[in-house]
């Protein structure tokens, strides 16, 4: 009986029998890549097809090997893993592709001196022609568009956050599922689906009636954008206010605190991080809108810092006009370089906003720790 006490090192443990070796996925991946390359070489090589064929071969190879060695349960597990990871890669592909394309095309425009500090005022086709023919630097920049985007979005936020937040407070704290609350919820849902051009036309038509025909200013654009923003702000704030535990409200009431003070000092501070990130996401949603700004603020080539008077440029309309109507029709390359640069700035702006949202959420989050 002593033999059972001495461990047998040479034999593999009975508990780990019937498993694929650790290197199995890598081996299958290598084989799939090689076989995939070989197949693609027969019908004409391209990277996309290589990736696709290799991925299919990898999934088939790993699953059937696993089925042969480990049995059907493990094989199903491997198949599900392949599907999940594959879907993730498919979802990631457009994002990476967009960022890569914009970076490659946008960086030359962005590092051009004066790109962020100059407007397009006085930049004519003649300069662009010269830049292409003589290799001089591309003139002109996006300062006016950047300023317009920031000012219009800021004004839209100033309009929509109070309206949206107060609506959400009414729905959660006072509406109590009444008829008015249900109607508001319904119309907010309808508003969420409004096409952005319709919001732009509404704002334009509204100001034509009130201020006289042809009124196109940054403020009109801000109103159009807030029509798009308000439902998003209402929806996200409502969710955030709803998840504040009722116990906290009751605790405040039991201390003899009035309802409005309870909302202001207990409910909103508890939900503020979620509300702040909801607002930032709403801003990110409207900052790239093109159509409503075209019909409400027009587009300008010079600096206009007054949102309440005169046409205003914004980054999306700048991109749109530079691509569609290049400054020099015979040499559109400088214009498209400026457009890509503006697109890169827009993406950076949205990413910064997302970072700010995370930061705000972290700063305002209920404190933990001992």
């Amino acid at each position: 009986m002593t033999s059972t006490l001495t461990p047998v090192r040479s034999k593999r443990s009975a508990l780990t029998k019937g498993q694929l070796p650790k290197y199995a996925p890598y081996a299958v991946l290598g084989a799939a890549l090689i076989v995939g390359a070989a197949i693609l070489a027969l019908i004409g090589f391209n990277a996309f097809g290589w990736g696709l064929v290799s991925a299919i071969l990898f999934a088939i190879g790993l699953v059937s090997w696993s089925a042969a060695v480990e049995g059907s349960r493990k094989a199903k597990d491997k198949l599900a893993t392949c599907l999940v990871v594959g879907s993730f890669l498919v979802a990631l592909l457009p994002l990476v592709s967009v960022i890569w394309t914009v970076l490659v095309n946008g960086v030359p425009g962005l590092i051009n001196p004066g790109f962020l500090t100059n407007s397009m005022n006085g930049v004519t086709g003649a300069y662009d022609n010269k830049a292409v023919e003589n290799g001089t630097p591309v003139l002109g920049g996006i300062y006016h568009a950047l300023l317009g985007t920031v000012e219009i979005t800021l004004l839209a936020t100033v309009i929509s956050v109070p309206v949206g937040l107060l609506t959400a407070i009414y729905l959660v704290e006072y509406g109590q599922g009444g008829r008015l609350a249900k109607a508001i919820t319904f119309f907010v849902d309808v508003m969420t689906g409004i096409p952005s051009i319709v919001a732009g036309l509404f704002a334009a038509a509204f100001f034509f009636v009130v201020m006289g025909p042809g009124t196109k200013t940054g403020a009109v654009a801000a109103v159009a954008l807030s029509v798009l923003m308000i439902p998003v702000v209402v929806r996200s704030s409502e969710e955030m206010l709803r998840i504040v535990p009722n116990e906290l409200r009751e605790a405040a009431y039991a201390l003899g605190v009035r309802k409005w003070r309870t909302i202001l000092k207990v409910v909103i501070p508890t939900a503020i991080s979620g509300i702040a990130s909801g607002v930032t996401l709403a801003i990110a949603r409207v900052i790239g809108e093109t159509a409503p700004i075209l019909v409400t603020a027009g587009f300008a080539t010079s600096i206009n810092s007054n949102v309440f008077g005169g046409w205003m440029a914004s980054l999306p309309t700048f991109i749109y006009t530079q691509i569609l109507n290049p400054t020099s029709p015979s040499n559109p390359d400088p214009s498209s370089q400026r457009a890509w640069g503006a697109a890169l700035v827009l993406i950076i702006l949205v990413m910064l906003l997302n970072l700010v949202a995370r930061l705000i959420a972290r700063i305002f989050a209920p404190k933990t720790g001992r």
């Binding site: 109590q176 116990e247 605790a251 201390l255 003899g256 009035r258 508890t270 209920p366 404190k367």
Partner: protein, 259 residues
């Protein structure tokens, strides 16, 4: 700093549903009164009507009178906020405000109402309230830390400190120990014994031993069946209720034959 409560012929409704029927009870000042009874018999509902907290639930209403030293809580023109600043409440689950520090939690009743208070007065109030809740020694070095970092029992004592910081006349406790371990429960029970020197305490509990340990008088509530209203069956000295009750139902309940 304590007042008596007299309840006359009180009916509590949720919409059309009669939840508690015809309760009359006299709660003495500077005493501990316990409400016992099976789940769903309306003792928590009844407790919440004593500081109008049931009005938080849409459709809840009462008929009858609740007199705080002779003043009807449900009289015309009475502000529920004024009622609640005199009758504090501690809830089943500890609910410190997560955005506030321990110190701010104690001062919540003052600060949320925007009352001006100097730093010196605030320090005195914080120390007195936390000492009153037997929590001072455990938290005096970390008053600026968040209240949610305390243990469950400490959080519940923090909630009691928060309730006594507004200097109420009456403290209502809705199963304050049901989420706590035996040691924290003991700490709260000791605290209740001290609180009755200054306050009128009303406590709802599922734990009959707890009622027997902490209360001077006990009220037994019962319900005839699902969908029927809860009723006050018997009310008397705790000793009498547990050793020599008048009603058969009370005797069955306290001796563990049902419920």
């Amino acid at each position: 700093m304590s007042k008596r409560i007299d309840v006359k012929d009180l009916n509590v409704y949720y919409g059309d549903f009669l939840a508690v029927e015809d309760v009359s009870i006299n709660i003495e000042a500077k005493s501990v009164t316990a409400f016992i009874g099976p789940s769903g018999c309306g003792k928590s509902t009844f407790l919440r009507t004593l500081n109008r907290m049931h009005e938080v639930i849409p459709g809840a209403r009462v008929e009858g009178e609740v007199l705080l030293d002779g003043d009807n809580l449900y009289g015309p023109g009475v502000d529920p906020v004024a009622v609640r600043s005199q009758i504090g409440m501690v809830f089943q689950r500890p609910n410190p405000f997560p955005t506030m520090s321990i110190r701010d939690n104690v001062l919540a009743g003052v600060k949320l109402n925007n009352k001006k208070i100097s730093k010196g007065e605030a320090d005195v109030l914080v120390e007195r309230s936390l000492k009153g809740a037997n929590l001072w020694n455990e938290v005096k070095d970390r008053l600026e830390k968040p209240g949610s970092g305390l243990s469950g029992g400490q959080q519940q004592r923090l909630c009691i400190a928060r309730a006594i910081a507004v200097e109420p006349q009456v403290i209502l406790m809705d199963e304050p120990c049901s989420a706590l371990d035996p040691i924290s429960t003991l700490a709260i029970e000791d605290l209740i014994n001290e609180l009755k020197d200054q306050y009128t305490v009303v406590i709802v509990t599922h734990n009959m031993q707890q009622a027997a340990r902490v209360s001077d008088r006990t009220a037994f509530f019962n319900i005839a069946g699902t969908g029927k209203p809860g009723k006050l069956i018997e009310y008397g000295d705790t000793h009498t209720i547990f050793s020599n009750p008048v009603q058969k139902a009370t005797e069955d309940y306290v001796s563990g034959r049902f419920g």
